[in-house]
Subunit: 658 residues, 2 copies
């Protein structure tokens, strides 16, 4: 039992590390760590199941600091509880180049950072994926191996962002009762008091989404403890509203927005030292308090050992370990090869969204860790296969999530699943609505995690739904995100190949852009090699070519037809299929040069804007694509109207050669 | 008084127009128009204040079909009530190329379409802006000129999207009691029943945000009417939950997701004709019913005339008309000129976010229709000036909105304000969080409306906040959106010029990317001409130049220093400042060629990815910028670490020339 006095001093250790690190960096956010220190102290000293010596323990509780600007709270906790890769020197290096202690918590920079947060609302939405993964894996592997909580600290900003509504309504619907969110209810935002911009009754709001809610004094450790214990008994996710004072302890700035995102200043820190009776100099923690913290950090070792004993003899140990290592089943590659062989025989004319479903039917049969889903477009995205029964609030034996009309919440939850480990999530949505979940896609790329977004209806080829639904700039905008690989396969074979690359890539997220409309096969012979993995490859070679036509996805068919029309005019042309810009950029210069070739005229075709295509065709190349938003009409008319046709290619090439 | 039988037949007119148009197009969404026909009939025949002969009447009630896929509901209403530019031929042309009746309602295609909807949640979020504009203009011009309602029909999808939470919490906070939302509560989404993905108690949720809520049978006209009258008396915005049957009237498909987004088929339409006792052939409305509808459409003429009489003698008539015409005060241009002259004298070294505040101080002094705001970053975005007092729920005399941490809701509300007329909204946010509101920015561009986004902290120059907050790909991704002009000014003078262009552009939205860090002035002499309006211009000319350096924003300073370093090595260089790609593309080929020039080496500098820059420097040009996400550190260290320095430019140029 930790006495109140000891608790206060332990919490103050967090406060002063935060204050002093922000002061030294002359930049950062002391307010939240100082305000939420009591909540975090109770959680980490009494409840959180973790073992700093084994930070990747699969059954640890997950702690998500959704209010990522309060990063010093997390760094202080990691240091105090004894994470070996978080030293006092790391704390002193707060916000300095190459330090582990970046301005906002960055996944991968240090153990114990479960996810990258800072963009508000993302952490709480990730946490739905963490809690989902625990629930699903508990279903699959039993409570002996998976039985943990997901705890979140969220601020007012997280709760105001729309993504939080998608997250909480999904979590409440799915009854994720091991998800516990502490709301740091300090009534302060950057502009001033919350009341300047919001008057939401958060308790009523969460209860409307079937959450349990509890209100406590966020500076009363016993009240916080009682709330956590009550939450543990709930059959619903729980919001614990913790009334706190931002910058708690600062005599002149506590409770104001001045302490949110700026150093307190030497004088105010000195005053706070007096007020909190904390004589230790900066970055020095009294040994007895550090010992207490380290003892709290070692609490989990015995529980971890018990788990390890169960794990060692578990019947599903090998599969469990494979899943958490992120390794794919050996059966995947042969299954894809066999499927590609079949495609080379059947040569289907098919929409790539349907081809994706067919590929998934193969994949889901051999990769049990895939979790499919869609933002309420299941029949349009073709993301459900025979193996993926729907998950319901009371039955997690399935493998398919009806995410609802919540693209942002979906993408963020998928990030949480991938970060948790044990699952490979893939989504379904329209390419145009990647805009709705772009912040979460970006974070997946920044973190380098394996989530796969199925993005159908990928151009004006969707037809009548019109400009609001037709992607024009989305491919360019997504290709712009570093470390995201965007695929746009041309037929069923490329679709299978792209899926294989996406699954085999542990270090980046993928998007697969797919058509609504049918496409003739671009590839008609079997290739053991995954040609799409090279990003671009020569589909039709011609040593005497005057023209090279580069195209992606549905426009490869147009390129091939244009080649035939040009041949009839005695103009020889090569065709290069470009399923993934980013993968091509990773090839050797020699390979790249061989694909680009030396034909006099270079043409790029994509039913989208030109941006990015100069990389293939140069600034003097011909680009056949879109320059504006789309129109509402049957898609074949649209291709004609916007001049994206084999004939238009022939005309432009002929003019250039004339 | 319309009898129940007449009401039913009037509503059925909508149903059959929708069914038959979808059937003819073989594409579209009959379910919502059939389900919501009763609600729309009551609203349009008894309450909506509108005059089809004067569709732009400034004091009309606004009707927003947030569930835009139900577009045939709106088109049917416009035709039936007698909008002259919506004929039965237009209805027959549903979803055909160049027809007014696009798949989703497209603003500008026909009168009576108040906003473009289809991407779910946007309409309800726009409506907050419409209702805000009415409230603000009523405050300013009095109820004689502005006193109208904003009505919305929203579906389950709109309410599941996170943006709806931002919208309703803002509307509830601001007590926008003339906003009335009909929720088409049909319990059906594309995947099946709502219960598959959601179990939110919407009444409780809306009440948590201080809305009035009412539940009615959505097929009972008197209950609907009573609810509207109750809503009119409310001091809060109102949600009227209308329990409806999707596809009402279809004997075999009503109430199922089969009728949501597909034609019913000839057999089912025939069966529906029998079930609803509607013998008229497709696209023929019985004359008595058409007459009743036209009579409903003429209801507003007398009210409009009374308004016109008040308007004719109103003391603020001239200002009111100017504001709704969207014309700027004549005082703006001279004020900007005078301010630029002052800058040429003072030559301030200043962050462009601060320069933007200074420009706004000038602008807001002479343009009373600007409505500023920020998504809780007022002090960081520098968007508040001496003229813009904060608007509060009880005091709309101010001109500044504390939008809260709601970027998406902010951008969508701004679209509503601009569409309403009478106001020019500008936002404040971080450039990185343009990702959070991208769907609304895209719609502003698609609609071609004047909203202005102030986007500060525009690169790694923000420093310690790190990769989650540092834009790397956002400029490229925003430049990719057709009809959006993205500005990135280099100093205070360019900032003022960019503001002037943004304000003077009625036909497109603008984004202004601004630095956190101080910049030396790029322009030191006065130019009467707005050089930034050309998109790119020669800042430093040199007829003998071997090198041209193109740069935007904060990197112009680096370009200028590189030029000096090169000169010391006897390498002559030109410098071109590029504040806006899109405006440069609109210049004459001659002007463009004169700016691009013929120097042997071309260099582009932007602390962002290369995508898009080949337009200036060619694929063989040198690009000095970012290839990855950023890092957390003081910004000067980051510029060095990422090699975005004058020295790096000199090294690259020297290597190229060697």
């Amino acid at each position: 039992m930790i006495s109140r006095d000891t608790h206060d001093r332990m919490a103050n250790a967090i406060r002063f590390l935060a204050m002093d690190a922000v002061e030294k960096a002359n930049s950062g956010h002391p307010g939240l760590p100082m305000g939420a220190a009591d909540v975090a102290t109770v959680l980490f000293t009494r409840y959180l199941k973790f073992d700093p010596k084994a930070p990747h323990w699969a059954d640890r509780d997950r702690f998500i600091l959704s209010a990522g600007h309060g990063s010093m709270l997390l760094y202080a906790l990691l240091y105090l509880t004894g994470y070996e890769d978080m030293t006092i020197e790391d704390i002193k290096g707060f916000r300095q180049l190459h330090s582990k202690t970046a301005g906002h918590p960055e996944y991968g920079y240090a153990d114990g950072i479960e996810t990258t947060t800072g963009p508000l609302g993302q952490g709480i939405a990730n946490s739905v994926g963490f809690a989902f993964a625990e629930r699903k894996l508990r279903e699959e592997f039993g409570a002996d191996l998976q039985d943990h909580y997901t705890y979140v600290i969220a601020g007012d900003g997280c709760l105001m962002e729309g993504i939080s509504q998608e997250a909480i309504s999904l979590a409440g619907h799915l009854k994720l009762n091991k998800l516990i969110v502490f709301w740091d209810d300090n009534n302060i935002t950057i502009d001033g008091t919350v009341g300047m911009s919001d008057s939401t009754d958060q308790h009523a709001r969460f209860r409307a989404s079937h959450w349990n809610t509890i209100a406590v004094d966020g500076h009363d450790p016993e009240a916080i403890a009682a709330a956590i214990e009550e939450a543990h008994k709930s059959d619903k996710p729980t919001l614990i509203a913790c009334k706190t004072t931002i910058g708690f302890g600062s005599p002149n700035k506590a409770g104001t927005h001045k302490v949110h995102g700026s150093p307190l200043g030497a004088d105010e820190i000195a005053a706070t030292r007096v007020a909190l009776n904390w004589p230790s100099p900066a970055f020095e923690i009294p040994q007895d308090i550090l010992d207490m913290w380290r003892q709290a950090g070692s609490r989990g070792a015995s529980v971890h050992k018990e788990w390890a004993n169960r794990h060692a003899v578990a019947s599903k140990k090998v599969e469990f370990d494979r899943r958490f290592a992120g390794d794919l089943p050996a059966a995947l590659a042969p299954a894809i090869s066999a499927y590609k062989q079949k495609l080379a025989e059947t040569k289907p004319t098919v929409a790539t969204r349907k081809a994706s479903e067919d590929a998934l039917e193969v994949i889901n049969g051999v990769v049990p860790e895939t979790i499919g889903g869609s933002a309420d477009l299941t029949g349009s995205n073709n993301t459900k296969t025979s193996q993926t029964a729907s998950i319901t609030p009371t039955d997690f034996s399935g493998r398919y999530v009806h995410y609802g009309i919540r693209e942002h919440g979906m993408a963020a939850a998928m990030n949480g699943m991938a970060l948790h480990g044990g699952l490979i999530p893939y989504s379904g949505g329209f390419l145009i609505f990647s805009d709705y979940c772009r912040p979460s896609i970006r974070l997946a790329a920044l973190m380098g995690i394996r989530v796969i977004h199925v993005l159908t209806h990928d151009s004006i080829g969707l037809g009548e739904d019109g400009p609001t639904h037709q992607p024009v700039e989305q491919m360019a905008a997504l290709r712009a995100i570093p470390n995201l690989v965007m695929f746009r396969p041309a037929d069923a074979t490329e679709t299978a190949e792209c899926w294989q690359v996406a699954l085999e890539s542990k270090g980046h997220p993928s998007g697969i852009a797919l058509t609504r409309q049918n496409l003739a096969p671009a590839r008609t012979t079997y290739s053991e090699e995954n040609l799409s993995a090279k990003g671009a490859y020569v589909l039709h070679e011609d040593a005497s070519a005057q023209v090279t036509i580069f195209a992606s996805g549905s426009e490869v068919e147009i390129a091939v037809k244009a080649r035939e029309l040009l041949a009839a005019k005695n103009i020889a042309a090569r065709v290069v299929s470009v399923p993934a810009f980013e993968l091509f950029d990773a090839q050797t210069p020699e390979y790249q040069a061989s694909v680009i070739g030396n034909a006099k005229v270079k043409v790029g075709i994509e039913a989208a804007i030109r941006q990015g295509w100069d990389r293939f065709i140069g600034t003097d190349g011909i680009f056949v694509g879109m320059k504006s938003f789309g129109e509402s009409a049957p898609y074949k008319e649209l291709y004609k109207f916007f001049g994206i046709t084999p004939e238009a290619v022939v005309d432009a090439v002929s003019a250039k050669l004339a």
